[in-house]
Amino acid sequence: MFRNALGKTFRFLGYAVQYGCVAHCAFEYLGGIVVCSGPSMEPTIQNSDIVFSENLSRHFYSIRKGDIVIVKSPTDPKSNICKRVIGLEGDKVCTSNPSDFLKTHSFVPKGHVWLEGDNLRNSTDSRCYGPVPYGLIRGRICFKIWPLNDFGFLRASPNGHRFLDD
């Protein structure tokens, strides 16, 4: 009776470890569900929206200009931030605010990206802490799951003027 219970416990633990490993690999290499908080990506992503992010783009280096990405915060490695990619390495970006009279530009260094939130007036992003290393990108947000009335792929940036074409 005791041996039966012990056998069942070990089998359960075995399955738990296997499922745990598969789940870890899935979250690390494939993607997962993310709850977003904060106003910096409004109106595209509101506070407490639930989105699905995939990690394959980051491993295959297919992050594009205009993608919304989840990034480890450059100032606090324990937290993640969600912003839109405005420029990849080598791109020219506008570092001044839209309200400034004199516009300053710079080029994104190699191995970095320039991130900005969609809510330009209420977002701390690359305009504040500079270009972000590509290695900090965790995943790309593909589509929104919640709220249901906004289900589907994410809209393009409302700030098209921030994307400078060569």
Binding site: Y61, K72, S73, P74, T75, D76, P77, K110, G111, H112, V132, P133, Y134, G135, L136
Partner: protein, 127 residues
Amino acid sequence: VLYMIKWMSLIIVFVCGSFFSICFLVMACNENDCSSFTSKIIKRVIALEGDIIKTIGYKKKYVKVPHGHIWVEGDHHGHSFDSNAFGPVSLGLLHARATHILWPPKRWQKLQPMLPPERKPLQREQE
């Protein structure tokens, strides 16, 4: 996982406290790489966030390491692609801490934390 070390900078990784430097494997984009893929580099941690250090060949002579960043240097200063080239490194890029050298067998050793005395920070932030 064994990493092949390509550069002349020395590999060392250490743990830290307030008197030692911590060294981690830092994942950063290496300009010497032919491909555009990021590769991992191994350096020694010289300063943590809040410390003020004197740099060797960096664009600013004195640097205060920003919050959430570290300053890493190779032990062979003249030939090292480290923070003196690309600046402070974000902690989120840290991958692992190297604790031992496994190969070649004649170099088997535990890597000891050791901060070179001439690279001590000028001012350490009190916790």
